[in-house]
């Protein structure tokens, strides 16, 4: 049996552009993996995300989901059902006139049962705190409300692989915590996920981290190892957790801390 998700020497050049979007990236994912993709602005994260969901077709190489290729139009229809993507800019994904219709849109494409649709949409609205906005035009929402809607959109579809491109941007601290816990629960249930960001703190619990630089995958390893090389991580444009930065500046070398609790107990023990 072929592994569930494969990037095989994937490259992408934007038409008419001199810079490479993504260059010869290889990756094999087992089901249930949480992968973090890190890198500076313009390093190729979002391009890679669009390649992974089939929105862009590789210039060379191939992207395979359950053995199906995104390069093949017929197989792509299968892939669209398996891979869900939360875009960096939520506006780009909205198609419907109201929040409720927006969440229902994808679900309606998959089932004919109006009862199932109603229930699923109701759950999406309540999980993401959007009930009072159900009749609002998605484009009139505040930034954070748009982000929550874009997350709800994908969550209700229960795709096998979820891609999230800076999913915490535009959220307030309370919503950040809620959504982080929410992904953690999904993960515990075996959800496969790829999380694109430049903040290491967001992907500390990832099984594996891939670092992009100028379109290339330049480093792969567990997030803990990246923490142990702060100079290099910063040079790649990656932001370290604030507690790690503060500990570094205060000259705390051991142990490596990643959050406030740990730093408090190191400083006042």
């Amino acid at each position: 049996m072929a592994p569930f998700f494969i990037l095989d020497q994937v490259s992408y050049c934007y038409p008419g552009s001199l810079t490479t979007g993504v260059c010869q990236v290889n990756l094999v994912l087992e089901p249930g993996t949480f992968l973090g993709v890190l890198g500076a602005n313009g390093s190729g994260k979002s391009t890679l995300a669009r390649l992974c969901c089939g929105l862009l077709k590789p210039t060379t190489g191939q992207v395979l989901v359950d053995g199906y290729s995104t390069a093949n139009e017929e197989e792509l229809r299968y892939i669209y059902r398996q891979v869900g993507m939360v875009f960096q800019q939520p506006d780009n994904q909205f198609v419907a006139a109201t929040v409720e219709r927006e969440i229902a849109f994808g679900v309606e494409n998959r089932t004919l049962s109006s009862e199932v649709i109603r229930q699923t949409v109701g759950l999406g609205l309540s999980y993401f705190g959007l009930e009072t906005l159900r009749n609002a035009d998605p484009h009139s929402l505040s930034g954070g409300e748009k982000r929550l809607l874009s997350l709800a959109d994908v969550w209700v579809l229960k795709p096998k692989l979820i891609l999230v491109d800076e999913p915490l941007a535009m959220l307030d601290p309370g919503a950040k915590q809620r959504i982080t816990r929410f992904w953690q629960d999904l993960r515990d249930q075996g959800q496969s996920m790829i999380w694109f960001t430049h903040g290491l703190a967001e992907v500390l619990s990832a099984d594996l981290v891939l670092v992009m630089e100028n379109g290339r995958a330049v480093w792969t390893g567990p997030p803990g190892e990246l923490l142990a090389m702060p100079e290099q991580a910063r040079a790649w444009g990656i932001t370290l957790p604030p507690a790690t930065e503060a500990a570094d500046r205060l000259g705390v070398k051991e142990p490596v801390v990643t959050n406030e609790d740990e730093l408090v107990s190191v400083l006042w023990k």
Partner: protein, 278 residues
């Protein structure tokens, strides 16, 4: 330059839905040469307030007046890609200054300065702003605002999408122009660490109302209010607060990033010399 907002109320009406009061009786006096942070939960009215102050929304009631000083009131919007229209990055950034009747040579110099200030790679200056990554688009939008030589700069979530070097470049630039030009700043953000590094005054907006008008030190005293709205202190203040609560000899209510570091360094220094533990 000063901005005075008096009893600002903004009511939106959505089709088939009850009216939404996004701002409710907000009265504010913003001074030139000072930097204020605008904190508040999702949907609390931050963007609406900034857009009203910039004259992009006409308030349902109340008024905004701008007094004295040179240069326009400029807003860098929350979703940069929504404002783009020009064929190249350079033209996008040049558009504002050109409309201010600057000389061509001065416009060109302004554009160079602004794009350098946000640390956008030079090879990206001549491409379409639509063909950029998210963080690159943010840099262009910020450069476009900076290039206008604002007398007052309103920034809506300026760090979203910016990587570490991008944030550092922005902080450095804003500090520099603040020191050099006496510009006024109002910055809305969900990133308290960024706000702490740049501002002295803190405005807390909740449900369209001004719930607090204080300083960072003052906010530490109000930490319970903050938590009630699911908001957080900047990391350094939160750390000091936790240490203080655990009985460590530190004072949490610090007014600036520099002061917070000084306090932490003092505390750590004394611990090294063998000060007592808990």
């Amino acid at each position: 330059m000063e901005i005075n907002a008096k009893e600002l109320t903004v009511v939106f009406s959505r089709d088939g839905e009850a009216k939404k009061t996004a701002l409710s009786g907000v009265t504010l006096h913003l001074k030139g040469g000072a930097a204020a942070a605008l904190l508040g939960p999702i949907g609390s009215g931050k963007s609406t307030l900034l857009r009203t102050l910039a004259g992009l929304i006409k308030p349902t009631s109340g008024s905004v007046t701008v007094d004295g000083g040179e240069g326009p009131v400029v807003l860098a919007i929350q979703e940069p890609q929504r404002g783009f229209f020009a064929a190249t990055v350079r033209e996008e950034v040049a558009f504002g200054p050109e409309n201010l009747d600057m000389e061509a040579a001065e416009v060109a110099a302004r554009v160079d300065w602004a794009l350098t200030a946000v640390d956008l790679k030079k090879e990206r200056w001549t491409v379409s702003p639509f063909q950029l990554s998210g963080g690159e688009q943010r840099r262009v939008a910020l450069a476009a605002a900076l290039a206008m030589k604002p007398g007052f700069l309103l920034l809506d979530e300026p760090t979203i999408g910016l990587d570490g070097p991008g944030q550092t470049a922005l902080i450095t630039t804003l500090r520099k122009i603040k020191a050099e030009t006496g510009i006024g700043l109002l910055v809305a953000s969900h990133d308290p660490d960024f706000l702490f590094s740049l501002t002295q005054r803190v405005l807390l907006l909740v449900d369209g109302r001004l719930a607090a008008d204080t300083t960072w030190g003052g906010l530490v005293e109000k930490v319970d209010t903050l938590r009630a709205y699911n908001l957080e202190l900047p990391f350094l203040l939160s750390l000091l607060y936790r240490l203080e609560a655990a009985g460590a000899p530190v004072a949490a209510a610090q007014e600036s990033e520099e002061q917070a570091w000084a306090e932490l360094n003092r505390f750590c220094g004394e611990r090294m010399k063998g000060g007592s533990g808990p």
